[in-house]
Symmetry: C2
Amino acid sequence: MFVNAMPRYEILSEGAMEVLDQGWRRIVSELGIEFLLPESVDILRAAGQTVEDENRVRFDPEFILEQMAKAPAEFELQARNPAQSAHIGGDNMVFAPVYGCPFIREGDVRRDAKMADFENLVRLAQAFPELDSPGGTICEPEDRPLDSRHLDMVYALQTLSDKPYMGSVTSAPNAADTIRMGEILFGGREAIERAPVSISLININSPLRYDDRMLGAMHEYVKANQAVVITPFLLMGAMSPVSLPATLVQQMAEAFAGIALAQLIRPGAPVVFGSFLSNTDMQSGSPSFGTPESGIGVLCTGQIARRYGLPWRGGGALNASQTVDAQAAYESLMTLLPTFLAGANFVMHSAGWLEGGLVSCYEKFIVDVELLRELRHEFTPLEIDEASLAFDAHVEVGAGGHFLGAVHTLERFRECFYRPLLSSTENFDRWTKKGSRDTTARAGELWRETLESHEQPPLDDAVRAELQEYVVRRRAELGD
Amino acid sequence: MFVNAMPRYEILSEGAMEVLDQGWRRIVSELGIEFLLPESVDILRAAGQTVEDENRVRFDPEFILEQMAKAPAEFELQARNPAQSAHIGGDNMVFAPVYGCPFIREGDVRRDAKMADFENLVRLAQAFPELDSPGGTICEPEDRPLDSRHLDMVYALQTLSDKPYMGSVTSAPNAADTIRMGEILFGGREAIERAPVSISLININSPLRYDDRMLGAMHEYVKANQAVVITPFLLMGAMSPVSLPATLVQQMAEAFAGIALAQLIRPGAPVVFGSFLSNTDMQSGSPSFGTPESGIGVLCTGQIARRYGLPWRGGGALNASQTVDAQAAYESLMTLLPTFLAGANFVMHSAGWLEGGLVSCYEKFIVDVELLRELRHEFTPLEIDEASLAFDAHVEVGAGGHFLGAVHTLERFRECFYRPLLSSTENFDRWTKKGSRDTTARAGELWRETLESHEQPPLDDAVRAELQEYVVRRRAELGD
């Protein structure tokens, strides 16, 4: 797992932070947040918060801060292979791939996502050490029935990968299935309550509203001590005002209110302060990603999370491009580099995202793995000491010489620099002779090779059988 | 001109900075630097430095620091249109396009560069406000005779653009031509000596050697108070050891020695501490660009420059890709974003660079202009105050609503976010109907439209005639 020991890049002044602090307090206390699940409202009312119009809760900001203080600043996220367990919070950065896409892009073909794609993408996430998790809904397999699809997905995540996974959030029963399957995989309720074995995305129906299905799933997970990433869904201009400061305070108000609820449900439950913040392209009306605004949003969110002592989610390899071209690459890095500068603890959408999140793309997955590899290298502090200055190499080579054959070089040439996975430095003639394959074409070859050589991680036969049995039984109960 | 008012991202500890400081001192004092021009050696000997083997000068580091202290921390760079004059140093960032490429890429065609390309690229640099200068050898026009080509290039830079330009450095006489043409354009020697009207790239023949031609050009420029960018040419593994700390101290030793010489030639002469630092791909043996190492090199160089009070050059949109694909984009941004984080004062190669600098590419030029536009937006500090929180917009929209039609949005929708030049957020159907044009195809359309609609900046007929006369006369003298 990657520990980001580089300095954080912080851009908010103390005065700005104070303005933001006043902003979220005003929203939660004067406007309130809607919770469309009666159980949530009851809990908040019982804790002394003001309920209006059935489901709008006006908060005392100090109450929110008191609850938030119960949330762990860091926590373990268990993997079935203990060597793959992750640590959320502090200087740790945990990377998961794209999430929630109905479509697949493979070369020049764009089509509906299938279960076979889901499985392939989980295998790719398992194969590359740059990804700490296969994520959750890495694509939406349209060839499986909607009501029981979550069972297939969780089963694939649990069996094709031995890394920590994300659970289903489409309803309380689906969350309960995820939890039950976690118990089977890890050996019972106690095992999964010791530290979470899943981390799940609770999106807020921004502005200022939690819907009942997401809340139902959140209640299930939090009761079982499973981690949740409470994330306002903010495209400025649509779900929030066309102002980054306004959107930051909305993000705080919405997420902080949900985190407070989670801590009421189960004090000390593992929660992550989530950010998904970009802007609408006011010319096309479509969402933009990888914009300057989203980069700045990541930097600010990190600083805010540290101020309030919360582990946080943000960033990713986001972009709006229709294909794996220059725009896809520069927009992705325009978000991913700030993700490292800000030290996000949990990074969704860090590989494979295309077309504003509508598409899971195989080639883009490889491009993003290359970016993650480069950034992990870049954000590893330099060791600067007398020996690193290689004075003897200068003595050996002399003025006007070259270092290719120097002893200092020969001793270090395998390890001295980042070694690309995908990028090419071939000269033009050689590149042309080899077929003039651009980055996307080379990425196509790489993901196919990776899948061909991939070996599935071992799993106890009895556990696998019990999981299969559970899936079959529940699918039948759900009528599929 | 862009003023970078965001914080600098600094990664070197005080202890690391001290190790680096000892490192360059040891190189200049124990190994020395070679100057292959006798005039340079004579000046340094006369100033009390030790000369060995005819041209190797061993320095007292304190002497170098004394000379460096005479260099201005900031200076004006005059343009013939005063509104285009630039300021080098401080928080200012000045951007110039790619430099020195023998080849052109235009769509799928890669070919020798011609004078017509040179002129087109100067027009593009003039057309986009993101570029503060057309640079110098924006490509090498192979259809013009080698001995007099510099005259054609300087004439094109002076007449097709009204921004500050870079001069010829291939020899002392070529530099003298550049200076003389500057006098014609600006109205005499006094006018160009008040503040420089050109800025020229003096590359060091690294390791530890200045060649006679570059030194000849440098002497000419410095005597005339024209700015020089003194730049070690460092591809780690070839021209420097396979260690970033070692390369940083070599960069300091080489550049500081040249800056000291410049200050001896003319105390107070405008100089820029230059950095061109990347690494060899130890697998292919070719140069790499846009690597983690080059990004970190930019960050460190900025911090070093500030420590020694020098304006500095570094970064750019560097990459090793053969075509305008994902790699070209991510490698470029992997250097260009650190360029902004580090606040480089003078940025060469900020538009059009492809294939490790062998190719000036029209489409890449547009991609890079988009990156520069985005980064200028991103590195403009947020204004965070009570009004920016848009509380009234929340009152208007309410929970679960949307902001597209809110008064707050309608009043601001034109200005609220970055507006792309090149990037597309079109949905897939619309994008497909419009021809499925990727970023590079759209860039091709944009540079052609820009050239078609471009208007040449006005120039006094008498001045133009005098420049033409000078070029014709000198070309004849040079036998072309």
